[in-house]
Symmetry: C2
Subunit: 413 residues, 2 copies
């Protein structure tokens, strides 16, 4: 069963907009065990669309198309689909009534050019769009079934779920079960991970192994397919145990969660709270933690103390410590963490002070150096690290991940 995905639109082809629809559709059909064979993207051009429809209709059993169903002159999907299928466009009275009702419900009269959205290739099965004016449609072209959906993500997502996926499930009648397990890791690059997992393919020949880097975290993905659901589950359990043994503490989540989400969960489970004192990470730790809904349950504050004066005034870092050791030092990191914990009354506090670059490095403290402090019920510790990534934004990310990983390990211990 070959399924292909086609996105259309000049704004996508020109790069003005990133096509997120195709990835979304791939993800959703992945959940019913189908890997798309290919994504294609063409502009609002009659010839390009015609050529592509023909090509895809000869190559794939199912084609999922987004875009080109709007009311304007450059919305060509209906017309070109009819031409390639060799049928005429016909007005659908039910859709016309729905479009008129869509506008009248909003106190407006349907613009004349919206009526074109009620015209479909003869023989098409119409797919309702309850949240927009562009209905979709399914149409047989050559040996393929094409599903045409609007490009507006919210409309497309609803139509995909409610109208397209159920129809695909019927068409494929696939006897296999599918699973994709995602394991998040931190602390090993992709190559190092692959080395650590050497032997996996021999041990589990039916599982495809994939890696997905989201710097500095890397996800290990297990793609499974099996005609027996029981065997699939058993095989997954064995594979997961095998990987756990090889990667140990480098695994941060068995469900693809990020470091920030894992730290959040651990804090909630322990009914513990966290305060942060950030210098070189500049608010990134706080930003990642507060991206998670419900963070007020455990996150008290972050003092982004960029200037020395802020470290003194907010965190109570003594001028003597700053003078003797400098801003980037284990002792300063300790004082920052201790200050943040005392100020906030949080169970734990983490701190970062380092050199993100590009300027500010020295032979003893090159760009990429960071000192991370941790204050908690068990006392105050700190450690110095050096990372080789060289770029300001990468350094902010790796410093942040390292701090989150330290508190993660503390919470696990």
């Amino acid at each position: 069963m070959i399924i292909e995905i086609l996105a259309t639109g000049n704004e996508l082809l020109s790069g003005a907009l990133v096509d997120t629809n195709s990835a979304y559709i791939s993800e959703k059909i992945g959940e019913i065990g189908i890997m798309a064979a290919r994504h294609t993207l063409v502009g609002d051009d009659e010839d390009a669309l015609g050529t592509t429809f023909k090509e895809l209709s000869n190559r794939a059993e199912i084609v999922i198309v987004t875009g080109g169903l709007g009311p304007t002159r450059d919305d060509l999907s209906r017309e070109v689909a009819a031409r390639v299928a060799g049928v005429a466009l016909e007005l659908d009275q039910v859709s016309l009534a729905r479009i008129e009702q869509f506008f009248s419900a909003r106190g407006r009269k349907a613009p004349k050019n919206n009526q074109i959205q009620a015209r479909f290739p003869a023989g098409a099965e119409i797919l309702e769009n309850p949240i927009g004016t562009a209905p979709g449609f399914a149409l047989k072209i050559n040996r393929s079934t094409f599903f045409f959906m609007p490009g507006v993500p919210a409309e497309m997502r609803k139509m995909l779920k409610e109208q397209v996926i159920p129809r695909i499930t019927k068409i494929i009648r696939d006897p296999y079960y599918y699973e994709c397990k995602t394991i998040s890791t931190y602390g090993l690059g992709e190559s190092a991970l692959e080395e650590k997992l050497d032997g996996f393919m021999d041990r589990f020949p039916d599982i495809d192994l994939g890696f997905r880097a989201s710097f500095p975290e890397v996800q290990v993905k297990l793609y499974q397919k099996n005609s027996s659901q029981k065997e699939l589950i058993k095989e997954q359990q064995e594979a997961v145990s095998w990987i756990k043994e090889k990667l140990g503490i480098k695994i941060i989540s068995m469900n693809g969660a990020s470091l920030a989400a894992v730290v959040a969960e651990l804090l909630i489970n322990k009914k513990a709270t966290l305060a942060v004192a950030e210098s070189c990470t500049g608010g990134l730790i706080a930003n990642l933690l507060t991206n998670i809904a419900g963070s007020s349950e455990y996150f008290i504050l972050s003092a982004v103390t960029y200037a020395d004066i802020a470290k003194q005034k907010i965190l109570g870092v003594s001028p003597e410590v700053l003078k003797e050791y400098g801003a980037v030092h284990e002792e300063t990191a300790k004082a920052m963490a201790a200050g943040a914990r005392e100020l906030s009354g949080a169970t734990y506090a983490i701190s970062t002070t380092g050199i993100a670059g590009p300027a500010g490095g020295s032979p003893e403290k090159p760009v990429g150096t960071v000192c991370i402090g941790l204050a908690g019920p068990a006392g105050i510790t700190s450690k110095r690290y050096h990372f080789p990534f060289g770029k300001r934004l990468l350094n902010k990310k790796i410093f942040t991940a390292q701090a989150l990983n330290l508190i993660r390990r503390e919470l696990l211990s």
Copy 2:
């Protein structure tokens, strides 16, 4: 001249990751006057890659490929390109030395599988990768020139700019001058911008107008092509004046800079400093400001005071204000800004307190409500806004932009 773009990788085809590279490449070749004919995306599969390389080599003069140059087994671009071109893979000693040096500079030994990254199809022209281990290469396949680049966006972007675009310019031997002027705006959506700029096409028929949303900022792009450089410059000056008149203060930068970068520049020019007090933006303001190198010149601190106790202890917001008005209120925003300014001694302070959602909304203060305070030499003000975007991360972004825009306008006044 037909140019096509090909992205490769199972993580893209499965939808685990959205392909942003192809849109980026389209945008950049758009700046030298080329519209890509098509984007294609296939997985890490030998047959699929082989078929696609062949197809593209028969259809396009230039093909730009990303991905598949890593050190792991599923990185197949080198191998498949050699096979389709009918040549062998050859070890390049210079690249090998570079890879070994890349690791030794980081105090590590090159893993054995990274050596594969120094093997290229015979006859390929190697494209240096100064920031990663995967060099790219240019290779003739049939009548096409293929440019192979790594999929890691930062590496790809650098290689595209420094190595690929100059080679494409040579190949196309185009007699025209091209310019792409990017004007950043904030405060108008795409449709509203288009309405405001109605009449542009009649007035400047030789300039193509494009829009690019980077929520919540929108860039207006002017694409020009002219055989006379003098005329091109004159026309651009006229178009820019015309747009300035139509958009006024909604323009944040004439050079595509972001709100955060513009605020940074204005502060530096005024020799002023800034402190921030963030509740609902959770560190995002600090994070964006400290993403810019040199931010220590004007950025003193951000107090990410998520809990009420933090607002009291760090910013000195009185318990009475919090009790009488609640955390989300103009008066609280004022007290936060005043507290941050006093604490830091900064010239200006901005504050945010609001409801990013999904929880925490009420009929009087629904999700999307934010109060922003501003304290400066001219006194303390605050204002309440409500944004209709409904999602936590979008709310954090729009609250942040609104706060940055307030300080921008204050600095301009």
